[in-house]
């Protein structure tokens, strides 16, 4: 009984440690100041595509970012079901949360890329729709796609171990 209790405790502890396993906030800080602030202030909406892969599993997330010049708030949308509106100073933290991967497994070596305005927009939208409709039968290797991805700029490319 004691062993079982310890195992359950250990399982929850491990699960907790795996949450936000791939947190890119530290890396994103410089990118935000260098490229993103200017982009937001321009008032033109844009997309960020965040991709991490370890050869077996790959993860991707999108942040569509809009800035309202009058109310000075930033709206971040993952083009699925998550939307967040924050003030401009809070945008850095909010965006980095959108582009991090809470489900990535700790201890693995990931190749991480952050793309600005990728051109596979339609494909991503279609895939998002599939996932929303529960028909994600097609497993997409985002790491492979990222290799040949046509994009406006690769903002970040790094090997990272959570």
């Amino acid at each position: 009984m004691k062993t079982l209790r310890t195992s359950i405790l250990l399982f929850f502890l491990l699960s907790y440690s795996a949450a936000h396993a791939l947190d890119v906030c530290g890396l994103y800080k410089n990118v935000h100041q260098r490229d993103i602030v200017r982009r937001i202030k321009s008032g033109i909406p844009f997309k960020l595509l965040s991709i991490a892969g370890d050869g077996e599993a790959s993860y991707k997330t999108i942040a569509h970012i809009k800035y309202d010049l009058w109310s000075e708030v930033v709206t971040i949308d993952d083009l699925k079901n998550k939307v967040k509106t924050v003030s401009f100073p809070e945008s850095e933290k909010a965006i980095c949360q959108f582009i991090s991967f809470p489900n990535a497994l700790a201890g693995k070596n990931y190749h991480y890329q952050l793309h600005l305005n990728p051109i596979v927009g339609d494909m991503i939208s279609t895939n998002n729709k599939r996932q929303t409709q529960g028909i994600d039968f097609l497993k997409v290797n985002w790491r492979r796609i990222a290799k040949d991805l046509e994009t406006e700029k690769v903002l970040l490319e790094i090997d990272i171990k959570p």
Partner: protein, 454 residues
Amino acid sequence: MKSTSIIFTLFMFSQSALAKDNAPLRKSPFFIDGIHCMGLTAYVEEEQFSKAYADADMAKIAYKTMQQTQCENIFKAYDVIKFQWVTDEELENLSFTLKKSNKFKQVDISIEKSELPNHVHLTGHFVPHAEKHKFKLHVSQSLEKGGDTGNRSSTLFEGKANLYQRGQANDPKYSVGLKYFKTQAKKPLSADELKRGKNDVTMTPEETIIQSRQSGRYFDLNFRVNFPPYSSTSWLNPYLVVGLFQQQETMDKSHITGNYFEYGTEIHPDQTNPKAYFGLSLLYSDYAVGGNEYFDYDNESQDHTNKNILFAGIRGHFPTEKFSAHYSVFRSLTEEMHLFAEVSALFTIYKQGDFSHNIAGDFFYLRQAILPQHRFGLPNRDETTIYYQGNYSLNSLGRDSSIIFKFGGSEYLAKNNLKTPYRRENTFGELGLQSSINDFDLSLALIYGSQRLY
């Protein structure tokens, strides 16, 4: 204009009309109060521009007006004009399309608040490509093994200088093109020998002479001006080509000398694909033909004939990643029927790493050929070629370097009123190499064919 474009335009008009009537219903609308540009001074220098004006203040006003017009024309090419409503999705699309067009080295757009709510000023920050001269050179050498009709070697040389070009996507201000072709029969056959050979067909007297193994050469020199020179500010590209050509055939001593003028306009419907266009043009050609055997003139003084013909034509080019097509159709506007058409298409069927496999086809339809590259004097004919093309990228050799190999077959079918018109089938193989070194694009090709290639 394509029907889809008309529908799209009507849709846009109806949308903007609806928007004006029901402004509060619009989703995140912005009304563009003004359009501004930064970084366009490279196109026309103020000092150079002012020379045309006696008064300095007047020159300044004219320069600013010219710059503003140029700026608004850039956005107009992307369907954005002053005093219109746009959504933020449309602005995002505009930003994407401008960047994807590759017409500028760098481009960013931004909006700023205007005096009224939801009213904005749209600003483009441009960094134009530097003006550069770019050169292209292509040399191909072919060897034909014609069995009992003898061998032949031919050389084709094509050179092109694009002068004052900004990047790859924009047209150059001027370009000069040169084409030289020489063909040498190793064991020329007489017309009678050819008739007695395997080709058990009937030929017109002209065809008989032409199909015998003649040696000859032609050259074509042309100069093209693109109006306006700043094609990155417009979706219309009017141009003028002036050219001269000469063809000589050594066996029957025929020769053709002439010149041509082409005025046309290219329309670029898709700004994200700047190389794609369709165009309309007028082609005028004036030439003199001579040759004792060919025309069978008794009198030396009548040994030439002058002609001038006006053509109307369409051209188009549509390149995408997996498919590219090119076509041109020209028909004479004069009484005598002249028509030449060319269609070529290439499909990429499979691509893996540095290797791409393509299937391509060319079709020529010629009635009274007019330009040297149509092999002046050859009879009315249809020519069809289908081939496989493999491209292997050699990045280690330099930018855009690749090995190209082709093999396929072609059919030549004479079109005349005879019962069994001359018909020829041919198989060929080609090995080519292309590379870019600085501002030079070089390509070489070796061609081997079973029958006459040219």
